[in-house]
């Protein structure tokens, strides 16, 4: 019965869906379990280096990792307000 139905119905293959769901899920999970605090560590260290020289809003520093099959992309996004003020610390030295 199943075969007869499939003769006419032609159900879409589900394996490609499984594959795609797994790839998305695992790229996410690997980032977490592999180096749980890596991004947070990078973010805070980058923030501390940059804020030595420029006043930045800590909330406007975004560090992201996009994991690809062969290479991964580390993206650092720092929003700097217009009319940049050099931080006092640097100005003092």
């Amino acid at each position: 019965m199943m075969n007869v139905m499939r003769l006419f119905g032609g159900r879409a293959a589900s394996a490609p869906v499984a594959r795609e769901r797994l790839q998305i899920l695992l790229s996410h999970e690997r980032g977490r379990s592999g180096a749980p605090d890596l991004l947070e560590t990078l973010r805070s260290e980058i923030l501390s280096v940059v804020s030595k020289h420029i006043d930045v809003d800590p909330d406007k520093v975004v560090v992201r990792m996009d994991r690809g099959k062969f290479v991964s992309m580390l993206e650092v996004d720092i929003e700097v307000p217009n009319g940049v003020q050099r931080s006092k610390m640097v100005a003092a030295t």
């Binding site: 075969n3 007869v4 499939r6 003769l7 032609g10 293959a13 589900s14 394996a15 490609p16 499984a18 594959r19 769901r21 797994l22 790839q23 899920l25 695992l26 999970e29 690997r30 379990s33 592999g34």
Partner: protein, 271 residues
Amino acid sequence: MAKVLVVTSGKGGVGKTTSTAALGAALAQLGQNVVVIDFDVGLRNLDLVMGAERRVVFDLINVVQGVAKLPQALIRDKRLENLWLLPASQTRDKDALTEEGVKRVIADLKTKFDWILCDSPAGIERGATLAMRYADEAIIVTNPEVSSVRDSDRIIGMLDSKTVRAERGERVEKHLLVTRYDAGRAARGEMLSIDDILEILATPLLGIVPESQDVLRASNVGCPVTLNAANSAPARAYTDAVRRLMGEAVEMVVPVERKGLMDRLLRRRAA
């Protein structure tokens, strides 16, 4: 030089114990001295799958705690004289296993055997981490199914971080063993294919064990499938896998299920 191998998966019910028994027997059939250790404390089953359940007197915990000596706890296979079993305890809980104790037992076994196969319990708790702790190589048993692949990925991460080798900055060599594979269903896009699994897990393939009645029949009678049905497709898959472990280059065959003519015609047109 003795090799310590862990058979692991994360997910339960994918065929760790069955595979440990079959791989252990296949190695012994090729003349190697083999011991298989059951790490599933409280839920031992390797003894049952190997048909030694009525011969268990002492177990791994007894040896770890010094209640019994290692030779008292080792059970020799009735069919293969160079295959031995170290059973798990059925009554204790998993906390009875200590890292130090396991280390001692494995060091002792290394002087007596060529291969030490550790059958890991499911999960990522103490039993599973202890089973992989001293491994030189790992066999990750995976079914072509999303939850199994996800858990395998997790276990691969643990093999790269929680083993003694990983902590020393060395590698645990990993091998993927895909079990319960149905080439026909994979070809029709109903099941993850070998290529899908390899691409996702990025781990070298050790073997493909087809879904087969012979596997269940073997565990029903308590005899590893490589002994119980030596010419069956799963037995050949396990034997090929073992040859690869021993360093032989064996061509990877994707086992194809034989189908009736009508079934094939219908399926071909449906696909």
